[in-house]
């Protein structure tokens, strides 16, 4: 989890991501935001080197064109609810609050729907740290490109190198 905070990891991710984006631009004429997000997630998962469940789940998921990856798992959610019903307290109509929150969390972290609470919290910690790095790296790339656009092409290369 600590590694997501290192500069090295940040550099590896941002350069890999940028290369992946340039590659996809060469193959298709335009990249939609969804595809870009998907690419960013996949490169993030690769950078994780398969040590976590969420990263393996991202890489195992099929590439969907323009739809949210999580949507095809919707059917499973209802099964989950049904099996939990016997545990409900008589006084409360719904699940205990903590159980509900855990369920929500399971839906947010890739590949963790059937995970035990213990492992889920571990995966969540790593996932959050990785997401934060993803935000930092993508912001850095965006700033570079935006800065480059504001200046003349010949100036751009020189000034970026001075960063």
């Amino acid at each position: 989890m600590k590694r997501w905070r290192t500069k090295r990891e940040h550099q590896i991710y941002s350069s890999k991501l940028f290369q992946a984006l340039c590659r996809s631009r060469r193959t298709s004429s335009s990249t939609s935001a969804k595809e870009l997000h998907q690419t960013a997630d996949r490169v993030l998962a690769i950078t994780a080197k398969g040590t976590t469940r969420w990263s393996r789940a991202i890489l195992a998921a099929p590439l969907t064109a323009g739809t949210n990856m999580k949507k095809h798992k919707k059917a499973k959610v209802t099964v989950h609810t049904r099996s939990r019903k016997p545990v409900v307290n008589r006084e409360k109509k719904k699940l205990p609050v903590v159980e509900r929150k855990l369920k929500a969390l399971r839906r947010l972290v890739p590949g963790c729907r059937k995970l035990s609470c213990n492992n889920l919290l571990e995966e969540t910690s790593d996932y959050i740290a990785a997401l934060e790095m993803q935000v930092r790296a993508m912001t850095a790339i965006t700033e570079f490109l935006a800065r480059g656009e504001a200046q003349a092409p010949t100036d751009r290369l020189g000034s970026i190198g001075n960063m």
């Binding site: 631009r25 935001a33 919290l121 490109l145 656009e149 970026i160």
Partner: protein
Amino acid sequence: MSSRRWRESSRTNMSEEQITQLLSTLRQLLPEIPHSHSHKASSAAKVLKQTCNYIKTLHREVDDLSDRLSQLLATIDADSAEAAIIRSLLT
């Protein structure tokens, strides 16, 4: 407190100590939000809810960034500057 809930649900066979430890790990990850009662009074449910919200916030941020990046890439010619950009990202 939250300990009773854990005992009721036989599904979770973690000790309270483990739960407390993991929750404190999560709490450290969450950004500091000034609450009126943000101290140790945060129940497990509150921490989990904040965690879910935070992950959703991060997802949205990445969505926005993806939007902007896809627009920027479409307008500029990244290929010619690719090597220079990667070099600068790595320093």
